[in-house]
Symmetry: C2
Subunit: 149 residues, 2 copies
DNA sequence: AACAAAAAAGACCTTTATCTCTTTTTATGT
DNA sequence: ACATAAAAAGAGATAAAGGTCTTTTTTGTT
């Protein structure tokens, strides 16, 4: 479904949302350790996210990555399209050219409702909202693999 | 989500289910044309499916691929695991090590119901049943990209 | 000014997925 | 028997995903 790159990106964004601010920045090495992702690869991803206005960064001592208010207004959908490019969730499950209700493939009825849900949750919800919800539910804890409540 | 290989495999299986029998076999070239898939690649996939008892075949003139009664009792789940191997639908959406209700990631609540549905539809339904349903609903027509009702 | 710490940039490397081509084997019809 | 039509088998080719490493630039601290 999602590429590793997108998964890492989403996880790091949610991590940044809950752990950083304009006054508290974190560097790649730490983020990569916290999320247990390949550090160099994550660096590239954060670079790309920064170039596209989804993450903020400052260089030099005490520098690092963080989310400002503008970044927090973006959606996870923005993250996915920034990294993976393609419109993953509008594609037909069986790889046919178009996916719509008028010309459904055998799997369509099964997948279509899910797509709707993904769209509304990922596209119409800001990262700030998503992170806040995760905090409420306690699901943000599981961003790191080994972390057990 | 699914690899191209799995998608081609599923589509060809459903095609075989509705177009072949012990007495009516179809060769790779025709199947590939009908489904608009790369012929050589599809040949390899059908070979693999045949080796794993999901498809039947006979060589020589008037030979080709087809589904016998035994093949029709398999599930699409069997097809996916035969081709992709990995347990695609039990994996965490964000790539964390385990996916379960006890230790959910931020996306879990959104994805879990879908997984259930996929499992029951793909694992607990025979190919025969799935194909029959598709015929009823008319969705089998859209196996080929350009085919519009 | 010198140093250090961080991201940015760019050049790679490795592995996996996707796809092709050629040769061999097997079955059928004449 | 022979020709032919098909799958089976095996060896590669290409492209994309995943990941690493080194150098450069920027910024803050001493
Ligand atoms: S048409 Fe295949 S999933 Fe919608
Ligand atoms: S834990 Fe991530 S999808 Fe279930």
């Amino acid at each position: 479904m999602l590429s590793n790159a997108s998964k890492y990106a989403i996880r790091s964004i949610l991590y940044l949302a809950t752990h950083t601010s304009e006054t508290k920045k974190i560097n790649v090495k730490v983020i990569a350790e916290e999320l247990e992702t390949p550090p160099s690869f994550l660096a590239k991803l954060l670079q790309q996210l920064t170039n596209n206005g989804l993450v903020s960064s400052t260089k030099g001592p005490n520098g690092g990555f963080y989310l400002d208010e503008k970044n927090r207004k973006k959606s996870l959908w923005d993250v996915i399209t920034c990294i993976d490019g393609t419109d993953k969730f509008n594609q037909c499950f069986l790889g046919l050219s178009e996916c719509n209700d008028r010309n459904p493939c055998p799997a369509h009825a099964m997948v279509a409702p899910f797509k709707e849900k993904i769209l509304t949750n990922f596209r119409d919800k800001t990262i700030a909202e998503f992170a806040a919800e995760s905090l409420e539910k306690g699901t943000y804890l599981t961003l790191k693999q080994t972390e057990i409540l």
